[in-house]
């Protein structure tokens, strides 16, 4: 394979309109996913502002209690199914093909269909605000019997729409997962064996395998829930011989793995970025790769830790307490690998690096509260309190969303072709880090004191911590402004990005910024080394120097 006709010229069709139609290019779909996800992020965030606005005072004075139930239900549902999953699928679409040197996904049309389902079920879910009786109000778990009540008796009701939307989201995610897994398994560049694959692809493979195993169970459970709600069956109704706890099993059999679907790619992002900004190879690369699959295996057998108070057998409590604690081992391996990578590195505190460091800090904190929750006696005490809410917001906002921001700042130049502004980025980081900690730290003392979650009024003794949390939430709300400003202005008129602004190693950095539609096309470079050869001077691919020279020449002449 020669590099004579390499690098491919930059893309010709850069018109805006391709983002609004049925396009099958993974890079277009990736951006469609991310922009759509942030649209819903704003809606979910607005709901969060209402929640924290209500909770800044002990009395229920901002919204009606039933409305409040609908708001936190929709907040959780939107953030998970319409923000986190779509934004991660966006990153998968951008990164997987370029990182492994594939021209596109294995099934481009399926990929586009999977994306277009997102606005469809998004509209269904948002539309449920406007049906008689309002949206679903049974929390993002939708446990029966609350979720099988239909007091107004309309066939089309908020809960029914909720279940339909979640099922459609499942269909879309399964389509996506099929695509990502097939692409990673079948379309890697020559020479890229599994142990030369970037960690992000490992974690994506792990996360998407979890989707394939877990989602069908949720879908099955949701079908039965919908039948109970709308067609009079009694799968979960004790009067008819059913069992409400069965639904909890279905729900958590998926929704516990779902948290690893979220955090695994973020582990991937950390593993990609720490080496770049520390100028050192990733410490313990092979162990980090393998740990992802150990997490998959263990992650499938811990779900009952969400049901310790639900009347499950004692042996189950013991078993699931033990298995949950075991997960800390592979997770700890990764944390040590990142610390080992940063240790004595030449740190460059750019915006993406700051987000990674902040995310890692928050993740460690959340891991500690997670282990506390895994301990049955502690969990019985704090389950269904703000302690749990604090725990998972530290992971999801503090670690996952921060990691996603890191990824966006890091890869923005590659896929948009322009540099984001560092100053705005750092302001964004500062507000996010301070806001998240101020928002979610107070939830832990609140939970330990016994404040239940999902209430709109509370005893005045909880007021102090609640005020702090609300202030943190408003700061988080504000933190989005520098982010959006940065994205829009740098997209429109930011400085042009060179092919490798961060001096990173990886196939995606051997493409022009933005990459042409079919990436490397026919001229995929042959990989000859493990990733992350920072400071070793080893090339990643054959003819690396020539490729880079030509890219630089191309940029100079443009």
């Amino acid at each position: 394979m020669t590099s004579a006709t390499f690098p491919p010229s930059p893309p010709e069709n850069t018109s805006w309109s391709r983002y609004f139609g049925f396009n099958t290019d993974a890079k277009v779909i990736g951006i469609q996913y991310i922009v759509t996800a942030f649209f819903f992020f704003l809606i979910g965030g607005l709901l969060a502002m209402i929640i924290r606005g209500e909770l800044i005072t002990p009395a229920a004075d901002l919204v009606d209690r039933t409305v409040y139930n609908g708001i936190y239900t929709m907040h959780g549902t939107i953030m998970l199914f319409l923000f986190i999953f779509p934004v991660l699928n966006g990153l998968n679409n951008l990164l997987i093909p370029t990182m492994i040197g594939a021209p596109d996904m294995a099934f481009p049309r399926l990929n586009a269909v999977a994306f277009w389902l997102v606005p469809i079920f998004g509209a269904l879910l948002i539309g449920s605000f406007f049906v008689p009786g309002g949206p679903a109000y049974s929390g993002w778990w939708s446990y029966p019997p609350v979720s099988t009540q239909n007091p107004l008796g309309h066939f089309i009701n908020g809960q029914g729409l909720w279940i339909t939307a979640v099922a459609l989201s499942g269909v879309s995610s399964i389509m996506g997962a099929l695509n990502f897994v097939t692409t990673i398994l079948r379309m890697r560049a020559p020479g890229m064996g599994f142990f030369r694959m970037p960690v992000f692809c490992w974690t994506a493979l792990a996360a998407q395998s979890l989707q394939l195993i877990g989602l069908p169970a949720l879908t099955g459970g949701a079908v039965m829930l919908l039948m109970d709600l709308s067609f009079g069956t009694s799968f979960y109704q004790p009067e008819g011989g059913g069992d409400p706890v069965l639904y909890q099993h279905f729900f958590w059999f998926y929704s516990h793995p779902a948290v690893y679907v979220i955090i695994l790619p973020v582990f991937g992002i950390f593993s990609e970025l720490f080496p770049v900004y520390s100028r050192k190879p990733l410490f313990g690369y092979v162990y980090v790769c393998l740990a992802s699959f150990i997490i998959v295996a263990l992650g499938l057998v811990v779900w009952v830790h969400h049901m310790f108070p639900s009347g499950v057998a004692q042996w189950m409590r013991n078993f699931f307490m033990f298995s949950t604690m075991l997960i800390a081992v592979p997770t700890g391996v990764k944390v040590f690998a990142w610390l080992g990578t940063i240790w004595r590195g030449k740190l460059r505190l750019t915006t993406p690096m700051l987000f990674c460091l902040g995310g890692l800090f928050n993740f460690v904190f959340a891991g500690i509260t997670g282990i506390m929750l895994a301990t049955v006696p502690v969990d019985i005490h704090v389950s269904n309190t703000y302690f749990v809410v604090g725990h998972f917001h530290y992971v999801i906002y503090g670690a996952a969303v921060m990691g996603i921001f890191a990824a966006i700042y890091h890869w923005f130049p590659k896929f948009i072709g322009r540099m984001p502004y560092e100053g705005l980025g750092k302001v964004h980081f500062l507000f996010t880090f301070v806001g998240a900690n101020l928002n979610f730290l107070p939830m832990h003392p609140l939970g330990l004191m016994g404040m239940p979650r999902r209430v709109s009024s509370y005893d005045p003794e909880f007021a102090f911590w609640n005020v702090l949390a609300s202030l943190g939430a408003f700061l988080l709300g504000v933190s989005i402004i520098p982010f959006l400003l940065n994205m829009v202005s740098s997209w429109v008129r930011g400085p042009k990005a060179p092919h490798n602004p961060w001096n990173a190693i990886g196939l995606e950095w051997l493409l022009p910024s933005p990459p042409p539609e079919d990436n490397f096309g026919e001229h995929v470079p042959t990989v000859i080394a493990r990733p992350y050869g920072y400071g070793t001077g080893e090339p990643l691919v054959e003819h690396q120097a020539e490729i880079e020279n030509q890219l630089t020449l191309q940029e100079a002449s443009a």
């Binding site: 069709n13 309109s17 391709r18 609004f20 139609g21 049925f22 396009n23 099958t24 290019d25 021209p103 596109d104 294995a106 099934f107 481009p108 049309r109 399964i174 997962a177 099929l178 695509n179 897994v181 097939t182 398994l185 079948r186 379309m187 394939l212 195993i213 877990g214 989602l215 069908p216 169970a217 879908t219 099955g220 459970g221 079908v223 039965m224 039948m227 067609f231 009079g232 069956t233 009694s234 799968f235 008819g240 011989g241 059913g242 069992d243 069965l246 279905f250 059999f253 539609e517 079919d518």
Partner: protein
């Protein structure tokens, strides 16, 4: 529509990989239904609704025999195909479709003779859910076979890889295995 014309053509060689992964994932739904069924049944005080004696097993047993033999005929069809015998392929393929259609007919016959409905407690609910969801798969299989049969009349279509045929036949075996488990769970395991 701004679909891009030439570059992103589908990659047919990955279709089978994708389909196998899909089947693995699909089997989890059945696994969920089966384990839910087992859990509800073992926990039930009165499994059978009042007035129901149990399930008649003769029609379903005949159906089982039909479905299992259709797995054999589809295998024969595939063998003909790999030997380049297109007529033999069509014959066995059509036979498989007929057996599948007969299965659906038998299922409908059984359903229409039952004295309980979807809402007759968990017994009725799980029965119709499991058999209905499986029946949907049988119908899908027959439909896919019809599609492949039509395709076989397009000249040169099956000259290269026959991934569509392979995938359909895989799906059919899958539907068959699911039925055997289902038959054991629902009809053989009658006492609780």
């Amino acid at each position: 529509m701004t679909a891009t014309p030439h570059l992103n053509t589908e990659h047919p060689k990955h279709n089978l990989t994708g389909f196998i992964i899909f089947l693995c994932s699909e089997s989890v739904i059945f696994l969920a239904f089966f384990s839910g069924f087992a859990l509800l049944k073992t926990a039930a005080l009165n499994w059978l609704p009042p007035g129901v004696e149990g399930l008649e097993w003769r029609t379903p047993l005949l159906n089982t025999v039909v479905l299992i033999s259709s797995s054999g005929t589809i295998w024969l069809a595939e063998r003909c195909m790999s030997k380049g015998n297109l007529m033999g392929f069509r014959a066995f393929w059509l036979l498989t479709m007929a057996l599948g259609a007969y299965f659906l007919y038998g299922q409908a016959l059984e359903w229409s003779g039952l004295q309980f409905g979807l809402t007759s407690g968990v017994f009725g609910g799980t029965f119709y859910l499991l058999t209905g969801f499986h029946g949907l798969h049988v119908a899908t299989g027959v439909f896919l076979m019809g599609l492949m049969l039509v395709k076989s009349f397009i000249p040169q279509n099956y000259a290269g890889g026959e991934q569509g045929v392979q995938a359909t036949s895989l799906f059919w075996h899958f539907v068959d295995v699911i039925w055997i488990i289902l038959f054991v769970l629902i009809y053989v395991w009658q006492r609780s």
